[in-house]
């Protein structure tokens, strides 16, 4: 076997991904340094760091960064916590477990735009929505979720989508637990809390790392849920960095400022990636 072949087989993937990384990055760096408005394509003066200054001093910017982190943190927290609880609940056989599994995984396959509209119109509508009716049934004042708690609403939608994923990963992981060890612990009179603390949770640590990694990859760029429901508003209340860049690029047509923002997002993602790859890389080695 010659040594060239493995490299030859690897080349297409590496080349494509390298181009996919370097071309947009290079163009973003170039655009971010010039004046580049899509409506005035002939004005291409050198702008220096003006675009960066504009993007970073925009009052929306710090709100968007904060919202991105809040969205990311809340969804990961909610899905991991509830996911572990549900996984523990359905770990051992009970009547209809197969159907419960199918019901639980379903939201994961729903496309984000459907998810968003389903919640926006049918669940959260302040007059006809299901939640409003439940609130009314208990004699409470219905809440206009998307206006009063826009970021929270987005968090609910995204969590609903990702909870099934976390749950099923945890269920899969629990199935590989050492049952004899568990039996032995029970024989020795370990109560459920002790079993949880010394057996279940340590066993789940690795799958928690996996869930956090994958969710981080996908949630840094939550877009469709915001685009179809709140449009980032009211004001900037539910704008994340991804949506802010989109607004600059395709609503304000300012590609220069959007590119400066994109570079910022890339730096943000890289910080997260560096941190995470260390964490998960160690876990995957074992």
């Amino acid at each position: 076997m010659n040594r060239l072949l493995p490299r030859l087989l690897l080349a297409p993937a590496v080349t494509t991904l390298f181009l996919w990384m370097i071309v947009p990055l290079g163009m973003s760096i170039y655009f971010s340094l010039i004046r580049f408005n899509l409506l005035q394509p002939d004005q291409h003066g050198f702008a220096g760091l003006e675009n960066f200054e504009y993007f970073v001093t925009d009052p929306s910017f710090s709100v968007a960064v904060l919202n991105t982190l809040l969205l990311l943190g809340s969804v990961i927290l909610i899905t991991v916590l509830l996911g572990v609880l549900i996984a523990l609940l359905i770990d051992e056989p009970f009547p209809g477990r197969g159907i419960v599994r199918v019901l639980l995984i379903s939201p994961f396959f729903v496309m984000p735009t459907v998810n968003a509209l389903l919640w926006k119109h049918m669940m959260m509508n302040p007059i006809y929505g299901v939640l409003a009716q439940v609130w009314q049934f208990f004699g409470a004042q219905p809440v206009d979720w998307l206006t009063e708690h826009p970021l929270f609403s987005v968090i609910v939608m995204v969590s609903w989508q990702w909870l099934p994923f976390a749950t099923l990963i945890f269920v899969t992981s629990l199935q590989s637990m050492n049952r004899e060890q568990l039996e032995a612990a029970r024989m020795d009179g370990a109560n459920y809390l002790q079993q949880l603390r010394y057996l279940y949770l340590p066993h789940l640590a690795r799958s928690v790392a996996v869930v956090v990694m994958i969710e981080l990859i996908f949630l840094l760029s939550v877009f469709a849920e915001i685009f179809t429901t709140t449009g980032g508003g009211p004001g900037d209340a539910s704008t994340n960095v991804a949506f802010l860049i989109f607004k600059q690029a395709l609503l304000n047509f300012d590609a220069g400022v959007a590119s400066a923002g994109a570079l910022f997002a890339v730096v943000l993602a890289n910080i997260a990636a560096a941190f995470l790859i260390r964490l998960v890389g160690k876990n995957l080695d074992k």
């Binding site: 991904l17 419960v100 509209l117 469709a224 690029a249 395709l250």
Partner: protein
């Protein structure tokens, strides 16, 4: 497994598990029922649970927006991008799993790190490139972008599956004089089928549901179902029956598909880290 007796704990666990599952599934059940109602029944307070189902909304969705065109776009973009991705990812994963070099691990990590770049970081360059090359609102642009954004995950999943195949089997085939194609066809394909299937399935789901690039780069001509549904945002959103019918048509194929392949999908997504 022996059938466990219906102890009080088991009863409580069963009831609780079913309650949680039904609660989380409720929005989808509601969507499903509403799709078969008339607009008036749809917003009735309290919601009607028993009604005579009608296909009126489906008919209206079909005549108003060319559902079949969007569905066709969804099928083509997700299937072609998945196949294209497999074509590039399988050789790469094979090479890294069976010819490990000192830098294999670094390459894998680097590939994953490209997935961490948020898509929006590439929005302006991709938009400009698509505009200049005339690829705006074409299926080709979506196919390429779906493939690119799934490629790192595909390589990772395939790599972690191939790594579980004993390399001795491939070596033995090589010793017997099998060339690369025979090795692939006779050994890797049968042994790695499960891995390739679950990778392909996951990418199909991800591409079908992809919304960022389809919303930004496509509209009337190449729009996928995700784009079609987004157009129901408002004020059509108040027509629940129509919204539900359109949504149901958009998600039903992939949800049913997902039900049948859920075990493989989840196992694949753990990158082999969770057995």
């Amino acid at each position: 497994m022996a059938r466990s007796r219906l102890t009080p704990t088991l009863m409580a666990r069963t009831v609780l598990a079913w309650a949680v599952a039904l609660l989380l599934f409720f929005p989808l059940a509601f969507l499903f029922l509403t799709a078969f109602k008339t607009e008036l029944q749809a917003i009735a307070v309290p919601p009607e649970l028993i009604f005579s189902p009608t296909l009126e909304s489906f008919r209206e969705v079909h005549t108003r927006s060319d559902y079949l065109l969007f569905a066709k776009n969804s099928v083509i973009t997700s299937v072609v991008s998945t196949l294209l991705g497999l074509l590039i990812a399988v050789p790469a994963a094979y090479s890294m799993a069976f010819f490990r070099g000192p830098r294999t691990k670094d390459i894998l990590m680097w590939m994953l790190s490209t997935k961490m770049m948020p898509a929006v970081g590439a929005l302006v360059p991709v938009y400009v490139l698509a505009q200049y090359s005339g690829l705006l609102d074409t299926k080709l642009a979506l196919i390429i972008l779906f493939m690119l954004s799934n490629l790192p995950i595909m390589v990772w999943m395939l790599y972690s599956h191939f790594k579980d195949i004993p390399p001795e089997i491939l070596e033995a085939a090589r010793m017997d004089g099998a060339n690369l194609w025979q090795e692939f066809r006779r050994v890797l394909l049968p042994l790695g089928m499960g891995g390739m299937a679950s990778t392909g399935l996951l990418c199909l789901v991800l591409s079908w549901n992809e919304a960022f690039w389809s919303l930004n780069l496509s509209s009337a001509k190449a729009g996928t179902l995700a784009t079609l549904i987004a157009s129901y945002s408002s004020p059509e959103g108040l027509f629940w029956a129509k919204l539900s019918a359109a949504s149901l048509l958009a998600i039903a194929p992939i949800v049913v598909f997902g039900w049948f392949s859920q075990k493989q999908l989840v196992q694949g997504l753990t990158f082999g880290a969770v057995k």
